[in-house]
């Protein structure tokens, strides 16, 4: 029992923080927002300079063979800069294949994912069934759907891979609230779909990675919102005093820190639980996703509020955090959904 980072984990954290701070600048992110919501140069550097596209891919398939803790460290750093990076789909698809793919599927897909050669995304299907290796349906709200190469469709006990550059695929990009992870509608019409060997293993692995990715992004974003607001509070003078000297203002910042520290425990508890295959895995994941997302939204809202008018302008970065926070709240199940899942574990099903 040692709930502290190893030296290696500390090193990874430092590296990725530095990488995103240097590369995922506001200027570059805004360029991506004005375009298709993807900072390709960032993705390429992330893949080739850092080799981190392979973070949670097994070593024998070209990955780094690291676990959810390391994934969380990366997502946290990316989230702190609201980087326009297709990390969510990437880690979900990677885990789905690593845990639910056949040996052939792993050998085919994992090295390409690890190398960062393709952009992946996922969508949940209430009722999707593939007949003769073909899939049809309309899938809304697919993150980075308009720039992705590979789509994982999952539902029930099944998961399929669909080549988005292939036949039977029509994609409608949307302008969405969070322009750093735009949503798209994907319509499949008898599109060739490859079922993963073990959907029952693939789906929870994908969801665990997705929830941890989002929760860690939220943690990083929340901490950055706090840090930036604290910096502003020290500099901005009103009524002849730094506004950070006003007690009510200080207490708002303290409240942010109180939530963030809990979110931090939640994210690393969940990551650790998945890595150790703990009995607490499910509750930890639901806790992490819901708690971290709510924390981020609260902190990003305060980031606008506490910076006054300037925080409400397009020019200021606060809205990037705010919109990302909101979109994280709705992605992969909102807070009510995750808390109801926890309630079901401890109370049984609702009436």
């Amino acid at each position: 029992m040692e709930f502290a980072f190893t030296d290696e984990q500390r090193m990874i954290a430092e590296t990725v923080r530095g990488f995103f701070a240097e590369n995922a600048t506001s200027e570059r992110t805004r360029k991506a927002m004005a375009g298709d919501g993807l900072d390709r140069a960032l993705w390429n550097a992330f893949a080739s300079d850092l080799g981190l596209t392979g973070i949670a891919v097994p070593e024998d398939h070209g990955g780094a063979g690291l676990g959810m803790i390391e994934l969380a460290l990366v997502a946290e750093a990316a989230g702190a800069q609201v980087a326009a990076l297709p990390l969510l789909g990437h880690v979900m698809v990677g885990q789905a294949i690593a845990k639910g793919g056949s040996e052939e599927q792993k050998a085919e897909w994992l090295p390409r994912l690890a190398a960062g050669d393709m952009i992946s995304t996922t969508t949940w299907a209430a009722r999707a069934s593939a007949a003769d290796g073909r899939l049809s349906g309309t899938f809304s709200f697919v993150p980075h759907g308009a720039v992705a190469d590979l789509l994982l469709v999952y539902g029930g006990n099944d998961a399929w891979l669909v080549d988005l550059k292939g036949k039977g695929v029509a994609i409608t990009p949307h302008v969405t609230l969070d322009q750093t992870r735009p949503l798209a509608t994907v319509v499949l019409t008898d599109a060739p779909a490859e079922a993963l060997e073990d959907g029952d293993a693939a789906i929870p692995a994908a969801l665990a990675a997705g929830w941890i990715c989002l929760a860690a992004e939220a943690l990083g974003g929340a901490q950055a919102a706090l840090d930036r607001t604290v910096a502003y509070a020290r500099e901005r003078v009103q009524f002849g005093r730094p506004i950070g000297s006003f007690q009510a203002y200080k207490h708002r910042l303290a409240d942010m820190m109180i939530e963030i520290e809990q979110a931090r425990s939640a994210v690393y508890w969940a990551a650790c639980a998945v890595d150790e295959n703990s009995d607490e895995t499910a509750i930890a994941l639901h806790a992490a996703k819901s708690f971290a997302a709510d924390t981020y939204f609260m902190c990003a809202g305060n980031m606008i509020q506490l910076q006054g008018g300037i925080g409400f302008t397009w020019e200021h970065d606060a809205h990037l955090f705010f919109k990302r926070a909101r979109s994280i709240q709705t992605l992969l199940g909102n807070g009510t959904y995750h808390r109801e899942a926890v309630a079901t574990m401890i109370l049984g099903g609702a009436a």
């Binding site: 609230l177 003078v237 005093r241 203002y249 606008i304 006054g308 008018g309 397009w314």
Partner: protein, 392 residues
């Protein structure tokens, strides 16, 4: 204490409703239901004039200045029917709700004649130049300078958050007219025409992609010597008096537009089934209750004329509606789910509810942040010690 309206008042309500609905069904159909303050500005200026021509622009004003001498109850009724008919917000709301009443109260006879008929006719659009980049919450630290030179005021400096300055004809500006003065002393209140070389208005894009607010730069901007309201150095007093007008009858019209937003939310919840979710139901009920309580709070404020502007209900009103609306925006997004995250088309433009979610983040900031409001409530309403100024 009496809440109901008399039969005569109900007749007046019918008259208002008939006229307003006829306009929105007929000649001004194209602006019905607009919820932002920036869309179709030219048509909405025409609407201001149409209101003026028909005597509906400023019904509470004295008939001498283009009003109808309307009673409080009539003003309440008109404000309610205005929003109920889906008429968009008044682009000259600063003129009719702030500048006009300020001139009525503090202006000279000549100024009343110069400005009031134009405002009532919808031909003189006003905006407000109060905040500056370093005088946001701390209004007393304005730096924009005014000096008298050859019978004219010459103004230099910068204002910010000048709502709708880009479509306005006039701006009223607080300037520091006494060299070296500090805080609330040495300020003067000027009315300046915007269309002049010395004034440069630049839009500020907001987080919803819209640009209602502006930065307004003054470089040797000019206005005649008699453009001041009150006397030299009275600026602070007049600005404070003006802020009290913000809590007038116009709050009821504002509330009716909140009503429209809540109704849109209820419609959305019924449409997508979230109206069956017990958690959403509780929150919608809270929103409904909150809105009703705002209405009755406003009626209390308006009815209790013997209590001054520092009556409790009045002091708490701003933070109450701002917080209510911000919560409504969050509720709207929870009702809509991911569908609420899609813009209306290919541009970063938003329908009523997501726009409410985004824009309402400013409600708790402009016109005094929630923090400043709580200071005011505690200090003026409860008599607690004032926050000390620093000396930076």
């Amino acid at each position: 204490m009496k809440l109901g309206f008399s039969p005569a008042e109900e007749l007046f309500r019918a008259e208002c409703a008939d006229w307003l609905q006829a306009q929105m069904a007929g000649p001004f159909k194209d602006i019905k239901g607009i919820t932002t303050l920036t869309a179709k500005a030219e048509r909405r200026k025409e609407w201001e004039q149409h209101l003026g021509e028909n005597g509906w622009s400023c019904i509470g004003w004295p008939s001498q200045w283009g009003g109808r001498d309307a009673t409080l109850a009539q003003q309440v009724i008109f404000a309610e029917e205005y929003a109920r008919a889906g008429v968009p917000g008044r682009v000259n709301h600063i003129g009719i709700e702030l500048a006009g009443p300020t001139i009525l109260t503090f202006g000279s006879e000549e100024q009343k004649q110069r400005f009031l008929p134009g405002i009532a006719a919808g031909k003189t659009i006003f905006c407000q130049g109060f905040s500056e980049p370093n005088a946001g919450s701390d209004l007393a630290s304005v730096r924009t300078k005014g000096r008298l030179e050859n019978g004219e005021w010459v103004v230099n400096g910068q204002k910010i958050w000048t709502s709708l300055a880009h479509i306005s004809d006039w701006i009223f500006v607080i300037t520091r007219t006494e060299e070296g003065s500090k805080g609330p002393k040495g300020l003067t209140f000027l009315m300046m025409p915007i269309d002049q070389p010395g004034i440069d208005v630049r839009g500020i894009t907001q987080i919803n992609g819209d640009a209602e607010f502006n930065e307004t730069f003054f470089t040797d901007a000019r206005c005649p010597a008699d453009s001041l309201i009150g006397r030299i150095g009275d600026g602070w007093k007049i600005a404070m008096g003006l802020l009290a007008f913000e809590r007038g009858v116009s709050t009821l019209g504002q509330q009716m537009s909140f009503r429209n937003e809540l109704d849109a939310l209820i419609t959305a919840a019924r449409a997508n089934g979230t109206a069956h979710d017990p958690l959403i139901r509780q929150r919608i009920a809270k929103a409904e209750i909150g809105l009703r309580l705002m209405r009755y709070g406003a009626l209390r404020m308006l009815s209790n004329t013997d209590h001054s502007a520092i009556d409790g209900a009045a002091l708490t009103y701003k933070i109450q509606w701002a917080t209510w609306r911000r919560a409504l925006g969050e509720l709207a997004m929870d009702v809509l789910g991911q569908a609420g995250e899609l813009a209306e088309g290919d541009a970063y433009e938003w329908s009523t509810l997501p726009n409410l979610f985004l824009f309402s983040r400013a409600d708790t900031i402009y016109g005094g942040t929630n923090q400043i409001q709580r200071n005011l409530i505690a200090e003026r309403g409860l008599g607690l010690p004032r926050e000390p100024r620093g000396d930076l």
